[in-house]
């Protein structure tokens, strides 16, 4: 086990930089998820840590060693790939034991380690099969088993669940979390799925265009997004953003609707902003959480409903922008019905319209 430190790490392909001088400290035993839209540099960053990509600048440290110029085999890391990357000509047993076999460990030690890994991941009945005879979920478990037999310093996961169907993905997510609790090794996990990031991570690193946008615990990035990008990327459904102008200490939406300025936020008079409110904080009267001391009310016609059982998602239009709201203890709602919605202002956000930066103090 070891901590991982990235200092001003740069990756460029020729003159094209794809990762811009990122800094990241990952503590020993921590589960860190790199998340962002495709092309944000998260996989490249992971592959630089693995040693599968050259590092164009800066340093990567694993434990107390700078690993920039070490080949992957000398970094004591394990990696789980998106396409499983199993060796198709080897049985599950051989796949699991391959790294130990390469390291010329004694036979009985290999047998023991393989049996143990197979036990942890319930692969024991499959040991003599070839990868071609396994289902997607089983293959992914073999890939994880191959990673854990070596007791590496760091586990690297590169979008390991994106090839699985939704149900299996949920199952494997739990297994990965369990695995981390069991072995306690540092994990760096790359995904584009914010739900995976939220559910798995000790800390989430949100990346965009080769930069780190925000680092924080799942609740921190959910509750205090540093900008509009993080606010809309994290959380489902994405946060509603309404263009507004600050006038006389209140927000004025484009159709003239006035909403009091949420507490804890500062904005200049006349500043163009985006008013951010999650669906969980805009609910129809009578079907909402108990109101807080800072409430605003708006009337909004419902254009579409998505019943989910315990709650219903309501789509409405407010000042020309589509807004998603939640309805607890739902009742049937007709399309076009105008409802009165309460907005919990103390849970709302303001972002500068130009820079997107949060105006929270």
């Amino acid at each position: 086990m070891a901590d991982v430190v990235l200092r001003d790490v740069v990756k460029s392909y020729g003159a094209l930089p794809v990762v811009h001088a990122i800094n990241l400290d990952i503590a020993h035993g921590e589960f860190v998820v790199l998340v962002g839209p495709s092309g944000c540099g998260k996989s490249t960053t992971l592959r630089m840590i693995a040693g599968l990509e050259d590092i164009s600048g800066g340093t990567v440290k694993i434990g107390d060693r700078v690993v920039n110029d070490l080949p992957p085999r000398d970094r004591n890391i394990s990696m789980v790939f998106q396409n499983y990357a199993l060796y198709p000509h080897m049985t599950v047993r051989e796949n699991l034991g391959f790294s130990l076999h390469i390291a010329k460990r004694p036979k009985d030690e290999i047998v023991k380690a393989v049996a143990q890994a197979a036990e942890i991941l319930s692969l024991t009945p499959l040991l003599d099969r070839k990868p071609g005879q396994l289902s997607g979920g089983q293959r992914q478990r073999v890939a994880m088993g191959r990673a854990i037999v070596r007791h590496p310093d760091v586990f690297l996961f590169d979008e390991p669940l994106s090839n699985l169907d939704a149900k299996l993905r949920t199952q494997m997510r739990v297994e990965i979390k369990r695995l981390h609790q069991k072995v306690g090794t540092t994990i760096i996990y790359v995904t584009h799925d914010q739900i995976e990031a939220m559910t798995l991570a000790d800390r989430i690193v949100i990346m965009r265009d080769g930069h780190i946008v925000q680092i924080g615990t799942p609740l921190e990035v959910f509750e205090r997004p540093v900008n509009a990008f993080v606010a809309t990327f994290i959380g489902s459904p994405p946060m509603n953003l309404l263009p507004a102008t600050v006038t006389d200490g209140a927000l004025r939406l484009s159709d003239g609707t006035a909403i009091p300025l949420p507490p804890g936020l500062t904005a200049r008079d006349g500043q163009a902003v985006q008013f951010g409110v999650r669906a969980d904080n805009i609910m129809p009267e009578g079907h909402a959480m108990p109101p807080t001391s800072h409430m605003a009310f708006v009337d909004m016609p419902v254009t579409l409903t998505e019943p989910l059982g315990t709650e219903t998602l309501l789509f409405g239009t407010l000042a020309g922008t589509e807004v998603q709201a939640k309805m607890l203890n739902p009742r049937p709602v007709r399309t076009g019905e105008v409802l009165r919605f309460g907005i919990a202002l103390d849970k709302c956000h303001l972002f500068d319209a130009e820079t997107g930066a949060s105006l929270r103090v």
């Binding site: 085999r73 060796y87 198709p88 790294s99």
Partner: protein
């Protein structure tokens, strides 16, 4: 007037049957039949002179036939292994080239574009003991002062023939293996690197198993090719001198067309074809095994 009305399927298939009959069935039956006769090309009436399995017995007890058989087997073994190793090396190097790879691939095919007869003449010139390029070069460099009898000494002539054969056809292996290299998924290779493999171990345990099906396809194609080797050898040494480089088909060709003993030549031909069939079956078995082990089978 009565017209014969054949069913349409028969009418439609007749041309194909006729062609098959003319091109394959008749020559096959005729040659097989003649291998049991004392048929001589110069005396056509001898085709009716049945002599049972005499030709086969004669071939199987003929020391020249067996030495040609053994030499052919040796040529297949040596040439195929050399071509495989060189082709593999060539493919691995070309795969690393990033700029001008297309041009290199085309250039790699050049030897295959020449007629084997001309390749034979070219190497006959290179290996000629008096005016040949090789001896001249060796002598100019002071490495030897005698004229090495490249095409006269049996062992040296064999080496010369293998060289010509390898020169023409290594690209078959190189091209097929290169295709294999491009088809290898990158993930397992990267997984092997992370799993602690050195570049050699990655090649040995991951890349090579993926390449084996391609290597066996090349082997199957080339084993048929080399087992029927005739042109290059006929030009370079004509199986001589004194049968020192005699291969199956130079022997069969001479027996049939020079000595005109076609019945005997056909008998030897049928035995020789067995060799090719054995090679084909062997390499296709290997191919199937390699594919199954990669999960590509069924």
């Amino acid at each position: 007037m009565y017209r014969l009305r054949l069913p349409p399927w028969l009418v439609l298939l007749t041309p194909a049957f006729v062609v098959l009959l003319m091109v394959i069935a008749i020559p096959l039956v005729l040659s097989f039949y003649s291998s049991f006769t004392a048929f001589q090309l110069t005396r056509p009436e001898t085709i009716t002179r049945w002599n049972g399995s005499f030709n086969y017995k004669k071939a199987l007890s003929d020391v020249y036939f067996w030495s040609a058989f053994g030499r052919t087997l040796l040529l297949v073994t040596v040439a195929l292994n050399l071509e495989m190793l060189l082709g593999l090396g060539l493919a691995l190097m070309v795969a690393k080239v990033t700029r001008g790879q297309r041009l290199l691939r085309t250039m790699m095919m050049f030897p295959m574009m020449f007629s084997p007869i001309l390749v034979g003449f070219q190497f006959k010139f290179i290996f000629n003991d008096n005016v040949g390029l090789l001896n001249n070069a060796l002598q100019s460099l002071g490495l030897t002062d005698i004229a090495i009898p490249w095409l006269v000494d049996g062992h040296l002539a064999f080496i010369a023939i293998v060289t010509a054969e390898v020169w023409t056809s290594t690209s078959v292996f190189a091209i097929l293996i290169l295709a294999g290299l491009f088809a290898i998924p990158q993930d397992p290779v990267e997984a092997a690197r992370v799993d602690g493999c050195t570049p050699w171990q990655t090649f040995r345990y991951v890349t090579l198993p993926f390449l084996m099906p391609f290597i066996y396809i090349a082997m199957a194609i080339r084993s048929l090719d080399v087992a029927r080797a005739y042109d290059i050898v006929q030009v370079m040494t004509a199986g001589g001198p004194a049968r020192r480089t005699e291969l199956l088909w130079t022997l069969i060709g001479r027996t049939g067309y020079v000595d005109a003993r076609m019945g005997y030549a056909n008998a030897m031909g049928y035995i020789a074809i067995l060799l090719s069939i054995v090679f084909t079956v062997y390499f296709f078995r290997k191919l199937t095994t390699a594919r199954t082990s990669l999960g590509m089978g069924d």
